[in-house]
Symmetry: D3
Subunit: 130 residues, 6 copies
């Protein structure tokens, strides 16, 4: 695979996962370091998410768990929204957090559940308005 | 659910995940603290794994990722073998580790891959002998 | 022990540790996932805190240390307040943080000390007013 | 406090916590870096453990928890033995590990319990022989 | 070295690293626990930073990396500003974060890069005004 | 940069850092997953270490610190040997570990110092024989 293909694959995955609004926000990283941005897109989303052996849905199981386990709650917020966008249900996300509790304890799981709850509430409010 | 049901559910899940040999080994914990052992079975495997919204296969995606992310490599070994026992493929386990690398970096992923490789080699050797 | 007893034991421990106001706040978790809430009460506070071999006071030594060590500062805030409620002194909490510094380094200890300081100041202000 | 007093205080604490054999082993650090060794004794055991507001027994509650929470199992072994030496019971150590499980999950708690079990067995064997 | 010399050495290092404003802020710790403050100055900045074998510049490579790796982002903010004060370039700080990504993954590196970007922007705005 | 160039750059960096023997050992990863191996070489050593703004020597300051901070002691061993190979002195490595202690506490620093000491002793023995 040539190098510009890696970037294109990554950009395509990002379009599936993130709203235009989220992607615009992410680009503040590009202004600080274009090289780092290129790594995020080409390596993170191109080389990793762009692989074919797992679905995006399966990959988000892994991503959500890795983020909860290390307490990376800012990115968790972004990936809970992404997971819902690609068709994960609210119940599935709750189950992932519950399964985690045996491996990481309650503090991080409670924090994650609080974030999930906020997102669910705000999305439900939006869809009720519509 | 009454309390002895929680234990039975957990014991049943453990039968699906772990060989008799592994379960016998685990019981050294029971000798040190029967109460702690009861928590592992009733809460860990009964209350958590015993829930119905995800398959065991999906739960092991979460477990493997949580173990790799925190570097709990002894338990990872046990759960890679368990994951293969319930039908996960070697390729799926490799993909889980590869997906993790973007979220946790190479050191833990390389360590996990080394453990997976050892297990695969030893199981392949056994099945060739058979 | 039957299952509803586990919940009752946990609820009783929570009454000892947390003000009514804190408990009301915690219940946002119950709305997101009643099952997860049940685990917090029955397992976390019932099965663990409800055991008789250590006092609540001794258990909070362990809880505070586990929270500081993993940087779970939201829960730390809740448990510093709980520790004071069950009779731990401000000096004891400061000593726990100081003892931690050799095992976890300054960044998390400084963060914990800042949180403790805020809580002490706000409680001292209240008691002066009263 | 003058500086040589800090070292003496630390050395005195170490005599209370560690057998002569353990202290001799620890000194391999002194050969690699005498300055680092001095920090361990003067700061770690002198400035921290040497403080008067908590007992050594209470300090070991904190130390054991901090070590279990970060998965520092080599040092955990040393401090479980130290804790028994200053009068902590086997049951207390088991309770500390059990209390931790709610805050850190099972993998590290199981690992810690296995180490505790080995130590208890080896000490019980010794005392039976005697 | 006598004990008051340790404090003086630490205070001198802090003058090199931190603006008067930052140092004044840090002193809220001194009000909570003068003993803990003394440890920060005498041990943290005196015994450690005050050693002669590495430059402050080299020590900040280590500090920044240790803070990014453990996700101690409040202290990272303070030490990015300190690093710029002692002559590290913005490009060097970006390179440290990029080098980290292979060892810790993207979530913490992205968070660190965001903080660095904010600091750079605010300093550039100030220097433009001047 | 085309893609095969990324791999070549990475392979060239690895030749500078690691002995032929170490590189041969590392290749067990290639047998388990050639794709993962390609990421290690092309991304880890090509895209990251292959950048020009820092020297390899400076990059190893970051690598050693990131490995010590997360307790990745297997990889630490490999990178201490690599750091000596590219001209870092034993004293520098000791200083890096000592600087870390303020940020991560003693347990991981003591573990790292023990590993460094073993490597120094074994290399000194070799060079005495020669």
């Amino acid at each position: 695979m040539e190098n510009h293909k890696r970037y294109e694959t990554g950009a395509d995955v990002m379009d599936q996962l993130f709203s235009q609004e989220t992607q615009t926000y992410m680009q503040h990283i590009k202004e600080i370091s274009p090289d780092f941005w290129d790594m995020i897109v080409s390596f993170g989303f191109g080389d990793l998410y762009g692989r074919t052996n797992l679905t995006l849905h399966q990959r988000e199981y892994i991503t959500l768990t890795a983020l909860i386990t290390q307490g990376a709650f800012d990115q968790l917020r972004v990936h809970i929204i992404a997971s819902l966008k690609i068709g994960m249900t609210q119940q599935e996300i709750i189950e992932i957090i519950i399964q985690c509790v045996g491996y990481i304890g309650f503090p991080k799981a409670v924090h994650a559940m609080g974030i999930a709850g906020e997102i669910f509430k705000s999305l439900d409010a939006e869809s009720t308005k519509a």
